[in-house]
Amino acid sequence: MIEALFIYLATVCVICAVLTVSLRQPVYNVLALLTMFFHVAGLYVLLNAEFLAVVQIIVYAGAILVLYLFVLMLLNVRTQSRHLHRQWPFAVLILGSVTAMLVGALQDGTWGVASGEYTAAAIQEIGNTQAIGLRLYTDYLLPFEVASLVLLVAMIGAIVLTKKGLIDDHIKE
């Protein structure tokens, strides 16, 4: 049952990801992306990571994607006239070799994975959200704080790149 669910979710994810980059209409791209986000959330649920699944839907599907749609509608982005870029043979070549590498590594027979500290059973016991919170505010406190600086810089950057009058835009070189 779980395996069947996984195959369904993973297949839809891959198909939607391909559609996201290959469809012509920007709105369709965004909708394909939305579908992909929901299915990724499903994958998280299969992995016993309910908190991540909810965050995935609220943040990605809810906030970020709606923002994309707003931008699309405000800017009235025109449809790409050419369907595929000239570089597509290179893209296929590189994608093919990366896929071959991954498949080869999987077939190799030495693909080993450690179980780690937080097994499904351990997480059931502590609780999903608590486990993340504990790790985030103890072991990973420093990276977590650095994330705040990244957000700060993104905010200031948006101002520097767009605010009127901050940089003299009218001089002609």
């Binding site: 693909w111 406190l141 990276p143 600086l149 993104a154 790149l161």
Partner: protein
Amino acid sequence: MNMTIPMDNVIALLPEMIIAAFACLVLMFDLMLPQGRKNPLAWFSLAGVALAAFATFRLTHQHISAFADTFQVDPFSNFFKLLFYLIVALVILMSRAYLQQDRIHIGEYYHFILLVLTGMMIMVSATDLMTVYMGLELVSVTLYIMAAMKRYESRSTEAGLKYFVLGSFSSAVLLYGMSLIYGVTGTTNLAAIGAFLGDGVPNSAATVGLIMMVVGLAFKVAAAPFHMWAPDVYEGSPTPITAFMSVAPKAAAFAVILRVMLEAFGGMKSDWEAIFTVIAVLTMAVGAVLALVQTSLKRMLAYSSIGHAGYALIGVVVGDALGTFSVMYYLVIYAVMNLGAFAIIIMLRNQGLMGEELDDLKGLSRTHPWAALFMLVFMFSLAGIPPTAGFIAKFYIFMAAINAGYILLAIAGALLAAVSAYYYIRVIVVMYMQEPETDHVLTAPAGLRLALVFSLLFVIGLGVFPDPLADFAQQAILSF
């Protein structure tokens, strides 16, 4: 479980906290200054850098592991931090005139440069994949914005966008590799990963993760075949920012490469050694050959910077104590001589003169003999001609390679260095053998002069007496 932060952690993180605090204070201070009068911010930022340098200096020979082993102060990280302070100070000194000329002298510039500094300091001290990634991302995101700061010019916005798209892509590849490594080992701590992978049992998932991490990091140092973004980004960005990003983030990424490869993947050296050998040779070749055909000075220096990453990669391939030492030494020398060369380009930027083309240097020795002489020394040093420091740096790299038995790699490096000497010398020919076409009068403000004189003394001084820096670097080698 209580969340307590022991004093030890605060002391270890003090330099980073000082710089981050100054970055935020700059923003507030900025509000008090009228537009067009932002000079005090430069001095204020320099004061912050000096304060942090003092804090780092106090920690020079200490080993402190902080924040649940995600962050470590050791001589290795302090060596790089002191290098970053030097780079940031030089860049701040030399950038003011250019920024004013191009009307982008805003307080946020200093905010950004201090935050990049914070990110780089976190990168070199990181002993956990999470910390490495967050530091890297702080540096990258800030640099994307800085590249596009001249937003009225399409070249600059193009540089920012290109950097952003390719940088995000490389971050994603790096993250994918990290996630595989986490899956294999169940930990993100570098030492724990090293202990897990050290037993030499082949694991294909770990190999794939390693390859992806190498690719991601190679993107960050602009090593071939992942260098495509560098020339466009370096050419389009405002020159002081180009100068900055061609040296500082590259040095930080090299520190990460050294630490991650030696500490976490020490047991898989035969794997990454092969990859880095190919990358190093390709990078040196691309840097040497493609720079020959450039007419833009900035583009030429971009390819030269790619080539220099290749030489430093030889030291990474060697990977022993001497190899690590040679990389560290090379990065310091490269940083100062490259900044010197860019300072001359900044000087050429003048009313009505972009100063970014090779032709703009025509007859510089007639019109401005001093500037030409400085450029001559920096070009000699970049080419690796004695008695400049560039020669000593290359010498250590090749010596490390030969000592460890990588004779072919050393020969390839020496041959490509000879090829690349051609285009450095071409710059000198243009300056000294050709007639001047314009009669622009160049002006160098005090800060720029100071940076130039310092770089010159550094390059010549270390070329003649290489020992002080060598001793300092020797003490800071990573030891496992």
